[in-house]
């Protein structure tokens, strides 16, 4: 596995000893209260001379991985840049994020990738990788130079934001994957069925007079691409699955041995179309849209049984004024990096619907696996990728509390359990919650 895919700015290797935390690493089979040493950026070794951190009552988990974020660079650095987006990631406990290429211009050539990689090498607080477009300009017709992009360290290919609507182009991309080898992360949406829609089609949209986006606009494309992946022996990753019908397509594909993985976002696991009633685009308009309660429940079930492999935030920063437009006119998307783990912990783990171990797996090791990235682990000898979380502490989600440049969070106003005190990414301290972490010096 080439190691040029995740990039992070240089820094001093961490030398810390975290005392008395619950060390929880489901993949390595670790779950015990003990001390954990990070020596020269590597887990384990001699604690002598290390900075002491009191982890009593806290939980130490493998760093989280997000295979789907938008860093708005190049083009909309006013909304997010690599420094701010990766700081948001670190504050949320993430050690690796992969940015989508729907930038201005779209990331679709080796030159653009090289520039972004240079930025990440000097600005990124955690490991940042890049998807390049499947098609030039994300127009859905001409393939990008995937072989060279792969050699340069692209993590995968995606036209996220828009679908690869043309079936022949999709087939060619799967054929060419046999050369380039990169996973294809697919934004599944039939544009003709979506046509002007702004929220989930159903009773709430009918009542609000907002054009609906039918569930089938997603699932017919998932079905198509599972079929094409089977035909070509290719490998696909389905982005932000939102409907029960799409879950069924993914499940059937897996049962038939097709190499298909899939992700789900925190907001689709927790919110539904009824929550759109106030018509606040900043917090409730995203694509795919918030679906029905049956969908939401099916997504959680599929996350638990592994049909959905992992969680991805689809962190999508937008400006306040564009999000203050009337609902149908505002852009799609909500931020997510800083709230993902705490809100899922609060609403799913604390309510007994999802074991903490499984949440950690789905947000860390499994999220890395779907993009062939190294899986963070707390085992001795591993590069230190970890987050120290105070699950007993709460915080209020407010507009002025974010590392991200944007404030369009779906969870504004919530009080969440789970405060990330410390994040160590690739052996370096990437985040300390200012002034709060006991025993942590700035």
């Amino acid at each position: 596995m080439s190691d040029n895919r995740l990039l992070q700015k240089p820094g001093n290797p961490a030398n810390v000893v975290i005392r008395g935390a619950r060390v929880l690493d489901p993949l390595a089979g670790i779950d015990e209260v003990r001390d954990l040493v990070v020596r020269d950026g590597v887990v384990g070794g001699d604690p002598a001379g290390c900075e002491e951190i009191d982890g009593a009552g806290m939980t130490l988990i493998p760093g989280l991985v997000d295979p789907h974020v938008h860093l708005r660079t190049p083009g909309r650095e006013d909304l997010e840049d690599i420094a701010s987006g990766s700081a948001a990631a670190a504050a949320g406990g993430f050690v690796a994020i992969v940015a989508m290429p729907n930038t201005t211009p779209p990331l679709d050539d080796p030159e653009g990738l090289a520039k972004l990689q240079d930025l990440a090498r000097t600005q990124a607080h955690v490991g940042v990788g890049f998807f390049c477009a499947i098609t030039r300009g994300q127009k859905g017709t001409e393939l990008t130079e995937a072989a060279e992009l792969a050699q340069m360290g692209a993590v995968g290919l995606s036209d996220d934001g828009v679908p690869v609507w043309d079936s022949l182009t999709m087939r060619r991309a799967l054929q060419y994957q046999r050369l380039a080898g990169l996973p294809l992360a697919l934004h599944e949406e039939d544009p003709r069925l979506v046509q002007g829609g702004a929220m989930h089609e159903g009773p709430v949209a009918a009542r609000l007079g907002i054009t609906g986006i039918p569930s089938e606009s997603e699932s017919v494309m998932v079905g198509r691409d599972v079929a094409l992946a089977r035909l070509e022996g290719g490998r696909i990753h389905v982005c932000h699955v939102s409907t029960v019908e799409s879950v069924d397509e993914v499940r059937r594909g897996k049962q038939q041995g097709v190499a298909v993985t899939a992700e789900v976002s925190p907001h689709h696991l927790l919110l539904v179309d009824e929550d759109v009633s106030g018509m606040d685009a900043a917090t409730r308009k995203m694509n795919p849209p918030l679906r029905g309660t049956d969908d939401r429940d099916a997504l959680l079930e599929a996350l638990i049984d592994g049909t959905l492999d992992c969680i991805a935030t689809d962190h999508a920063p937008h400006g306040a004024s564009e999000k203050q437009l009337p609902f149908p006119e505002a852009p799609f998307g909500v931020t997510g990096l800083e709230t993902a783990f705490p809100v899922l912990y609060t609403d799913l783990v604390r309510t007994g619907r999802l074991p903490l171990e499984l949440l950690v797996r789905r947000m860390s090791g499994d999220a890395a696996r779907v993009m062939d990235l190294p899986q963070p682990t707390l085992a001795d000898g591993a590069p230190a990728n970890l987050a120290l979380v105070d699950l007993g502490a709460t915080w209020d989600v407010t507009e002025d509390g974010f590392q991200s440049k944007s404030r369009n969070s779906a969870f504004l106003g919530r009080t969440l359990h789970g405060v990330v005190r410390l994040t160590v990414s690739r052996g370096r301290v990437a985040w300390r919650r200012p002034g709060e972490a006991p025993g942590v010096a700035e």
């Binding site: 089609e201 159903g202 009773p203 709430v204 949209a205 009918a206 009542r207 609000l208 007079g209 907002i210 054009t211 609906g212 039918p214 106030g278 018509m279 606040d280 685009a281 004024s321 203050q324 437009l325 009337p326 609902f327 149908p328 006119e329």
Partner: protein, 315 residues
């Protein structure tokens, strides 16, 4: 907290009865020689119409003037909206004049809810996209009430383009709140999926299902719904399948239409001219209801300290 009238979704039966009773008071006033009352003297009402309107804009303007408010009209065309100003900036600008009420019509669903975040004034929704048109619904109720029609148990059938109709959405909510039964009769392509569950009421594709309706509410059929990628094949077929004329009605059925009418399309020429059709009564009710709404929001129950005695209304 400023009260606004953005939808009737949360309005109780009592809320609606309050509007109807107040409308009655203004109807009395309008019987007098001098049709202007000093009730809202010194108050500012801004009518911000970002989308074309004749009857709604006119009746809001006249309603404000009859109440002696200072009424300012801002139109989408000829204003800074044409220069690309956002709704937010336009509302912030208007808010700087410290209006008591901003009446808004806009092409986007949710525009009034969005605008209300940027002003201290009460916002009145005069039609936002395909979402809601609450004063239309109040005037529809008032028109029937004034004619002596009981709303409880009334059977109302909306016929036509329900999908694009804020009139039908608000109306269905209002009628059901008052105890009426609602049915939507339309081609399947012009009914949004989930309608029956979302709004309550029955759905039918058969025009013959207007038979047991006490009120047949004919919706406007817009030309842009036809043709390539359209919702129905032709106006001719639409008219044949869903057009309402005397031959499809039984004696005693009441007919309403929000205007403007497409004669020969959704309503026959002869029916449009039938004095029994309630269209002009609806227009007349429009101004009265809008007087009641403006009065209620400016001088109504919440701001009781500033309440102008109702006696003064009748003075």
């Amino acid at each position: 907290m400023t009260r606004s009238l953005i939808t009737l979704d949360d309005a109780s039966r009592d809320d609606i009865e309050r509007y109807l009773a107040l409308t009655d008071r203004f109807a009395e006033v309008m019987q007098r020689d001098i049709k202007k009352v000093p009730t809202l003297r010194g108050r500012v009402v801004i009518n911000a119409f970002f989308e074309a309107s004749t009857r709604t804009a006119t009746s809001f303007e006249l309603a404000g003037k009859r109440l002696s408010a200072d009424v300012i009209n801002v139109k989408g065309s000829g204003s800074s909206v044409e220069k690309g100003e956002t709704l937010k900036d336009t509302i912030l600008t208007l808010n700087a004049y410290q209006p008591d009420v901003i009446v808004i019509r806009h092409k986007a669903s949710g525009a009034c809810a969005a605008a209300a975040r940027f002003t201290d004034a009460a916002v009145v929704n005069a039609g936002d996209g395909t979402h809601a048109h609450p004063t239309q619904s109040l005037l529809d109720l008032y028109t029937l009430r004034r004619r002596g029609v009981g709303l409880d148990g009334l059977n109302v059938a909306y016929v036509g383009d329900v999908m694009h109709s804020r009139v039908a959405r608000s109306g269905a909510v209002a009628f059901r709140t008052m105890g009426a039964n609602v049915r939507f009769i339309a081609p399947p392509t012009l009914l949004p999926p989930g309608l029956a569950e979302g709004l309550g009421g029955e759905v039918s594709h058969d025009i013959r299902d207007i038979a047991d309706a006490d009120v047949v509410y004919v919706l406007r059929m817009q030309h842009e719904r036809m043709g390539a990628g359209g919702f129905v094949p032709s106006l001719r077929e639409y008219s044949r399948e869903y057009g309402v004329g005397h031959e499809r009605l039984r004696p005693g059925q009441l007919v309403m239409h929000p205007g403007p009418m497409n004669r020969g399309v959704e309503i026959s020429d002869a029916l449009a001219d039938d004095p029994e059709v309630l269209v002009s009564a609806q227009v007349e009710s429009g101004m009265l209801v809008r007087m009641a709404v403006l009065y209620d929001l400016i001088a109504g129950p919440v701001e009781r300290a500033r309440t102008v005695p109702v006696e003064e209304v009748a003075a």
